[in-house]
C-alpha cells in the first residue's frame, strides 16, 4: 500500500511534524493466526472449552478403538479361525480374504465369474461417462445404460445362449445381487413412476384416484412386507402353472415399491414448473403428450436429479432386506458365512460387518457427494 505523505506546509517548517502515517500494526496475536483461530472456534468461553475437550476425547477414543481393533490387535493371516479365537484378538482379516469371492459373486461358479466381471465392467464403463456432465453422446449413453445394460446382463448372467453355461439365479449372490437389485429397481420403476406422477396431476378424476391409491398404498407399507408379499404371494397371483424364480419375485416387489417413491419425486418436479410453461406449450398447439415430452418433462426431471439420486441411495441400502426372503446379497453372504465352523470366533461377525459397512458407506457417500455436486451445478442461476 502506498503511504500518503503529509503535505509539508511552510508554517510547519522547523517544527517537528510527522511526515508519514504510522505503520499499521498486525492484529493482536490473540485474535489472528492459529491462536486466534483456536480462541474463536474452540475456546471462546468456558463451556466452549469443555465441549471442545469432550469432543476431542470422543474423537481420540473412537479413532483409537477402531485402529486398535482393525490394525493393532487384528489377526492378519491364518488358514482358519484359531488365531481369531484367542482372547484379546481383534479383527479377523483372513476370514474376509478367504470368503471375498462369496461376498462379491455369491455361489456363482468360479469358472463363470468372468461373466459377472463383464457386467461389472459394463456398469462402470457406462456409469463414469454418464456421471461426467461434459462427456459427449449423453443420450446414447443414457439409452445404453437404461436398456443396453439390463439386456446385456440378462443375457450374460443367466447364460443358456451363445454357448454360455446356464447359471441358476439361486447361485447368484453377494455384491452382484446387491447391484442387480438396486439398478433394476430404479431402471424398471422409473417408467411406472413417471406415469403415476402424471396420473396424480391429471385432470381426469378416475386416473388421479387410481394413481393416488397406488402411491399411498406402497408408500404406507414397509419394504419387508412387500418382499414377503412378492416372495410368498406372487406365484398365487399368476395363472396356474406359471413359475417365477425367487430373484424375479423380489425384483417385482422392489420395482412396484420404488415406483411409488419415484412418482412422488417426479410430481415434486412437475409442481415446480411454472404454469406459463404449460400455457406456452398449449399456445403453440402442442397436445398433452408432446407438451409433456418436449417441454415439461425435460425441465422437471432436471430439477429432481438430486432427489432421484437420494432415492437410489436409499434403494441401494434397502437391498440388504432381500436376505429375509432368502436371497443372499452382500450382507446376506456375510450373515451366512460368519458362523461357519472353521471361522466362527467372537470377532468374525464384527469384521464382516465392518467390511460391509465400509463398502456400503463408500458407495452411498460418493453418490450423495455426486448429488450435491449436480445440485450446485444446476443451481448456478440462483447462487448468491
Amino acid at each position: 500500500m502506498q503511504t500518503p505523505t503529509l503535505a509539508a506546509s511552510p508554517a510547519a517548517a522547523g517544527a517537528f511534524v510527522r511526515q508519514q502515517l504510522a505503520e499499521t500494526l498486525p492484529p493482536p496475536a490473540s485474535t489472528a493466526g492459529a491462536i486466534g483461530w483456536l480462541r474463536k472456534n474452540l475456546f471462546g468461553s468456558l463451556s466452549d472449552a469443555i465441549l471442545t475437550l469432550l469432543g476431542i476425547t470422543i474423537i481420540v477414543y473412537t479413532v483409537w478403538s477402531i485402529l486398535d481393533f482393525t490394525v493393532i490387535r487384528a489377526v492378519a493371516t491364518g488358514i482358519n479361525g484359531d488365531a481369531c479365537r484367542k482372547p484379546g484378538a481383534g479383527a479377523c482379516w483372513p476370514y474376509v480374504t478367504s470368503f471375498w469371492r462369496l461376498f462379491v459373486y455369491g455361489y456363482y461358479p468360479p469358472a463363470e465369474q468372468w461373466r459377472a466381471n463383464v457386467v461389472f465392467a459394463l456398469f462402470i464403463g457406462l456409469l463414469i461417462p454418464l456421471a461426467i456432465p461434459s462427456a459427449p453422446l449423453k443420450l446414447l449413453n443414457v439409452l445404453l445404460f437404461l436398456f443396453g445394460l439390463p439386456i446385456a446382463a440378462g443375457i450374460i448372467l443367466p447364460g443358456g445362449w451363445f454357448g454360455l453355461v446356464p447359471v441358476e439365479t439361486q447361485l447368484w449372490g453377494g455384491f452382484l445381487v446387491t447391484l442387480i437389485i438396486a439398478v433394476t429397481g430404479i431402471v424398471a420403476s422409473f417408467p411406472l413412476g413417471l406415469l403415476l406422477a402424471l396420473g396424480r396431476r391429471s385432470n381426469m378424476p378416475a386416473i388421479r384416484f387410481l394413481s393416488v391409491v397406488y402411491i399411498e398404498f406402497w408408500r404406507g407399507v414397509p419394504l419387508i412386507t412387500v418382499l414377503f408379499l412378492a416372495s410368498n404371494m406372487l406365484p398365487l397371483f399368476l395363472p396356474v402353472g406359471w413359475n417365477v424364480n425367487q430373484l424375479v419375485r423380489a425384483l417385482v416387489g422392489v420395482t412396484l415399491f420404488t415406483a411409488a417413491y419415484i412418482a412422488e419425486i417426479i410430481r415434486g418436479g412437475l409442481q415446480a414448473i411454472p404454469r406459463g410453461q404449460y400455457e406456452g406449450a398449449q399456445a403453440l398447439g402442442l397436445g398433452y403428450w408432446r407438451m409433456m415430452v418436449l417441454i415439461i418433462m425435460p425441465q422437471a426431471i432436471k430439477i429432481v436429479i438430486p432427489s432421484l439420486v437420494s432415492s437410489f441411495i436409499s434403494l441401494f441400502k434397502d437391498t440388504t432386506l432381500v436376505q429375509i426372503v432368502s436371497i443372499y446379497d452382500l450382507l446376506g453372504t456375510i450373515q451366512q458365512s460368519r458362523n461357519s465352523p472353521i471361522w466362527s470366533a467372537p470377532t468374525t461377525s464384527t469384521t464382516g460387518y465392518l467390511v460391509a459397512a465400509l463398502i456400503f458407506w463408500t458407495c452411498c457417500f460418493s453418490m450423495s457427494r455426486y448429488s450435491q455436486f449436480i445440485e450446485r451445478r444446476l443451481n448456478t442461476g440462483h447462487r448468491r
Binding site: 471462546g44 465441549l51 378416475a206 441400502k317 432386506l321 470377532t347
Partner: protein, 399 residues
C-alpha cells in the same frame, strides 16, 4: 396446482370432430383405465382362487382364534402357548408400538442435539456432528442392527460373569439388562398415577397462565423447570407420604441363567439403538435445514435485543424453524415406524416377526400379509393425518 385445463375456445366446439373432443376423450380414457384395472383385479382374484383350490388352502380369519403353540420373548400383556394367534399378533403390534414410540422420543432428542451441534461455532463439535450424520446415514439400517445385536451381543458376558453397575442389583449380560423387580401396594400405585396426572395437568395450567402473563407483561416464567419439578416431585411426595411402600426383589444369577427381576431383552436394546441412531442422523439434517431457513436477520435482531445464545435458539430460532422441520420430521417418524419391521431379522417379536412365525409354522400367509399391510397403512395414514393437523396449527397465520 393442477395442470391448466385444455379448454376449447368458445365457438370452437361445433367445428370440433367428436374424436378430438377433450371431454369425450377424457371419458373414454378414464373408462378404459377403470375397465383395465377391473380386468387385472379380476384376473388376480381368479388366478389366486384357482391356485389356492389346487393347493387346498382356504382363506378366512377363523385361524386367529386357534392356539399358537409357540412362545414369545417379550410380552407386554399376559401370554402363553395356549393363547390365540390373534392375541400373539396383538402382542407383536404392541411391541412394534413400544419400539416405535421409544425410538421416536430418543431419535428426536439426539437428532435435535446433533442438528444444532452441526451449526455450532465450535469447530470440533460441528465437525463431530457432521461426521456422525455422514457416517450413520450412509450405512444400511439392517447392517447397523446386526452390528448392535450380533457384534454387540458377542462382547457381552454370560450371566455368570455379568457386568454389575450396581453390584447385586443390576446385571448386564447376554440375556439383556436385568434389574430388580419393583412391587408396590395397590394404594401406592394408584397414588402415583393420580399424582402424575395432577402434575401434568398443573404443568399445562401453568403453561397457559405463563403464556398469558408473558403476553400481558413480557415477563417470562420458567415453565420447563417448574413442570419438571412437579412431574418428578409430586409422585415422589405421594410415594413418601404413603410410607415408601416399595419391595425390591433382586434378580438371582446362576451360571447360565437369570431368575427373578425385570429383564430388558437385548433384542429391544439393539432395535432401539439401531433405529434411534439411524433416524437421528436424518432428523439432524431436517433440524439443520430448518434452522438455516430462519433468516439471519432474526438472529441478529435477537442479539441486538440482548438475548443470550440459548434464549435466541429457544425463543426466536426454534419456533420459526419448527415450521420447516415438521414435514420432514413426520416423514422420519413414519420411516422409523416402518423400519421397526426389520425386527424380524434380529428376532425382536414385533408384528412382522410374530406374523412370520405364524405363517411359517401354521400357514395363512395371505391373511397375515394382508393384516400387516392394513395395520401399517392405517398407522401411516393416521400419523400423517395428525401431523398435517399439527402442521396447519403451526403454519404462519397470514394477516
Amino acid at each position: 396446482m393442477m395442470e391448466p385445463k385444455a379448454s376449447a375456445p368458445p365457438g370452437a366446439g361445433e367445428r370440433r370432430h367428436w374424436l378430438t373432443d377433450p371431454v369425450f376423450r377424457s371419458v373414454v380414457f378414464q373408462s378404459l383405465a377403470l375397465v383395465a384395472m377391473a380386468v387385472i383385479a379380476w384376473m388376480i382374484v381368479a388366478d389366486t382362487a384357482a391356485n389356492m383350490e389346487r393347493q387346498h388352502v382356504s382363506v378366512g380369519l377363523d385361524f386367529l382364534a386357534e392356539n399358537t403353540g409357540f412362545d414369545l420373548a417379550q410380552t407386554l400383556i399376559p401370554y402363553s402357548t395356549a393363547s390365540s394367534i390373534g392375541r400373539a399378533l396383538f402382542i407383536g403390534f404392541l411391541n412394534t408400538v413400544l419400539v416405535a414410540i421409544l425410538g421416536i422420543v430418543f431419535a428426536t432428542i439426539i437428532g435435535l442435539v446433533v442438528g444444532v451441534a452441526r451449526l455450532s461455532s465450535n469447530w470440533v463439535i460441528s465437525r463431530l456432528a457432521t461426521a456422525y450424520v455422514e457416517i450413520i446415514r450412509n450405512i444400511p439400517l439392517l447392517l447397523q442392527l446386526f452390528l448392535w445385536y450380533f457384534a454387540g451381543l458377542g462382547v457381552l458376558p454370560e450371566p455368570k460373569f455379568s457386568i454389575q453397575p450396581v453390584p447385586g442389583w443390576v446385571f448386564i449380560n447376554r440375556r439383556g439388562l436385568v434389574f430388580p423387580e419393583m412391587l408396590m401396594g395397590p394404594a401406592t400405585r394408584w397414588a402415583l398415577v393420580i399424582a402424575l396426572v395432577v402434575a401434568i395437568a398443573a404443568t399445562i395450567a401453568i403453561r397457559v397462565w405463563a403464556k398469558r402473563r408473558q403476553a400481558a407483561t413480557g415477563r417470562i416464567f420458567p415453565v420447563g423447570w417448574v413442570g419438571l419439578l412437579l412431574i418428578v416431585g409430586l409422585p415422589l411426595v405421594a410415594f413418601l407420604a404413603l410410607g415408601a411402600d416399595l419391595k425390591l426383589t433382586a434378580p438371582r444369577i446362576s451360571v447360565f441363567n437369570v431368575s427373578g427381576g425385570t429383564t430388558i431383552n437385548p433384542e429391544l436394546v439393539a432395535m432401539l439403538a439401531g433405529l434411534t441412531f439411524y433416524t437421528a442422523s436424518f432428523i439432524a439434517e431436517a433440524v439443520r435445514g430448518g434452522i438455516l431457513a430462519v433468516s439471519h436477520g432474526q438472529i441478529e435482531a435477537a442479539k441486538a435485543l440482548g438475548l443470550s445464545g440459548g434464549q435466541t435458539l429457544k425463543l426466536v430460532v426454534m419456533p420459526q424453524a419448527l415450521r420447516v422441520i415438521i414435514p420432514p420430521l413426520t416423514n422420519q417418524y413414519l420411516n422409523l415406524t416402518k423400519n421397526s419391521s426389520l425386527a424380524v431379522a434380529i428376532g425382536y417379536p414385533d408384528l412382522v416377526y410374530v406374523g412370520e412365525v405364524v405363517f411359517s409354522k401354521l400357514g395363512h400367509t395371505m391373511e397375515v400379509i394382508a393384516l400387516w399391510m392394513i395395520i401399517y397403512l392405517g398407522t401411516s395414514l393416521i400419523t400423517s393425518f395428525f401431523m398435517n393437523w399439527y402442521n396447519r396449527r403451526m403454519a404462519i397465520v397470514e394477516r
